[in-house]
Amino acid sequence: MKVVVLVNAVPDTAATPEIAPDGRTVLTEQLEFVLDPYDEYAVEEAVRLKENLGAEVIAVSLGGNMARKALRCAFAMGVESGVLVRLPEGIELTGRGRSLGLLPTLRELAPDLILAGKQTVDSDDAQVPERVAELLDFVHASAVSQLTIVDTARLLVKREIEGGHLLIDLPLPALVTTEKGINVPRYPALPQVLKAKSKPLHEMALPLGVDLTAGWQVESVTRQQTARRQQIFSGEISTGVQQLAELLRQEA
């Protein structure tokens, strides 16, 4: 079985990006980048398929130097090779653009299964994998918290939705995005981290002749501020509770 895992690099979740003087772009150069937390689940799942079923696992990322770092993180977790679809610095793609940019590489790799994170935590988008699946004519299931390989041709997945879950039977080739709970991603061991540097990483250029430009304009980016009252009761608890209950009643 051939498995492709899609990985993406995102700024560390604790960091706050700065807004450029133009008021429309976000400055991320200064930030620490990490493998997207949801992609860690996808990589872990892929590596388990390698270890348990002998699957061939290839990580694919579209981007610049940060994407290269995401691939190295996947290598350190046990993925054996990777493809970087090179995005020239300074270009930003929407979900549509990214899926179209990844498409030729994925067609060429022709995997049986594609694993991806549920969403990137910078935009909470959740669209690149679903788009890719549709363009490849793969069946797909998003936000999967349990994946069982039934036989060489089928998967059974548990797909989380609000208030419950669905059990879905998917024939291969298929794409699945991973939700928290599917596994506990391993912490890369030092020997693996060292080996990661020498694993094969192929580069691909963006496809030509496809219009990847955005269908929208970012007019402004602002810092989201919610003014809070910060009325704190720190004396006698019973008094604080009475006052709080009264405030809640007034506002209900």
Partner: protein, 325 residues
């Protein structure tokens, strides 16, 4: 100009769908757009009556039982065709788990852009704009949608539904080929939070964190939920400790909620937790550490042991009830 709203069936019409619809209806009135909706569940007549006065001209439905209501594979061909035949300029869906994945798949089929998780949809002189949180809500981007059709998913930022008039949508019935040719199949639909309000749709959320101290001490918090009609939430620390299922996690890698009231109990206020509740209308924090970060991000706070504060609060709220009646 026609716009289309996707209504999600989880049993009945979801609150998230209704809010997305009401928000879109308000903007459609200003833009002079004719509003259509697609319902993929059964009993379209019942849904139509719930849409009274929302300004929807047509409710599209398929009167067949054989089409699985939650399967995107079953519905996408019809949906794609509808968008083309009706020359739909804007498609709006709820930013729920299913809503987001259906819209992403539809966007690919239409080769269109999709702005997920937006919190506002506006129109000025024929131009459409959306507001979308970035970096877990730390930043807010305003996008001008230039290409048609445009796809948008909306997250509830308020549960106000404005109706004007009594007009009911007309139901348009479609036929779809038998579902036997579907490749994927939904074997089971399992509800886990039966009886307790669903996090993403709840107007009040009560969350517990590491301060809960273990898996056994959630009784008081659950009772507070019951008294308030609230949904239960949790921090990642509580989830990772195995005290509560991850479906309850609020935050960057959990659910994003925008309730009218959010009560954080024994939660320190880490930036990744704030990401999930930043847009709550009012925030209450209960924490025994007066220097806890959460107190910088709340409207009301009580410094104290939650195991003292929560039972007292329950008593107070119960005592208020007769007055309210």
């Amino acid at each position: 100009m026609r716009w289309l709203v996707l209504l999600e069936p989880r049993g009945e019409l979801t609150p998230g769908s209704l809010v997305a619809l009401a928000t879109t209806a308000g903007t459609a009135r200003l833009a002079g757009a004719e509003l259509h909706a697609l319902w993929t569940g059964s009993a379209a007549e019942d849904v139509a009556s719930r849409l009274r006065g929302l300004g929807i001209t047509t409710l599209h439905a398929v009167p067949a039982e054989h089409l699985p209501p939650l399967s995107h594979e079953a519905w996408l061909p019809l949906l794609t065709q509808m968008v083309k035949d009706l020359e739909i300029a804007l498609i709006v869906g709820p930013a729920s788990a299913l809503g987001k994945s259906w819209m992403a798949a539809l966007a690919a089929r239409l080769d269109a852009e999709l702005a997920q998780n937006c919190i506002a949809l506006e129109t000025t002189q024929g131009t459409l704009r959306v507001r979308k949180p970035l970096y877990a809500g730390k930043l807010l981007a305003e996008l001008r949608l230039d290409r048609q059709p445009a796809l948008v998913t909306l997250r509830p930022s308020s549960f106000q539904i404005e109706r004007s008039g009594e007009a009911l949508p007309v139901i348009a019935h479609h036929t779809v080929n038998n579902s036997n040719s579907l490749r994927s199949s939904i074997k089971d639909v399992v509800k886990v939070s039966a009886g307790i309000a669903e996090l993403a749709d709840a107007r009040i959320v009560v969350s517990g964190g590491r301060g809960m101290g273990g898996a056994d001490d959630w009784t008081a918090l659950r009772e507070l939920c019951q008294v308030l009609g609230a949904a239960l939430g949790a921090s990642r620390a509580a989830v990772d400790a195995g005290w509560i299922h991850h479906a309850y996690q609020v935050g960057q890698t959990g659910k994003v909620v925008s309730p009218d009231l959010y009560i954080a109990c024994g939660i320190s206020g880490a930036v990744q937790h704030l990401a999930g509740m930043r847009s709550a209308h009012k925030v209450v924090a209960i924490n025994k550490d007066p220097t806890a970060e959460i107190f910088q991000h709340c409207d009301y706070g009580i410094v104290g042991d939650l195991f003292e504060v929560v039972p007292m609060l329950i008593q107070e709220l119960k005592a208020q009830r007769p007055q309210a009646a």
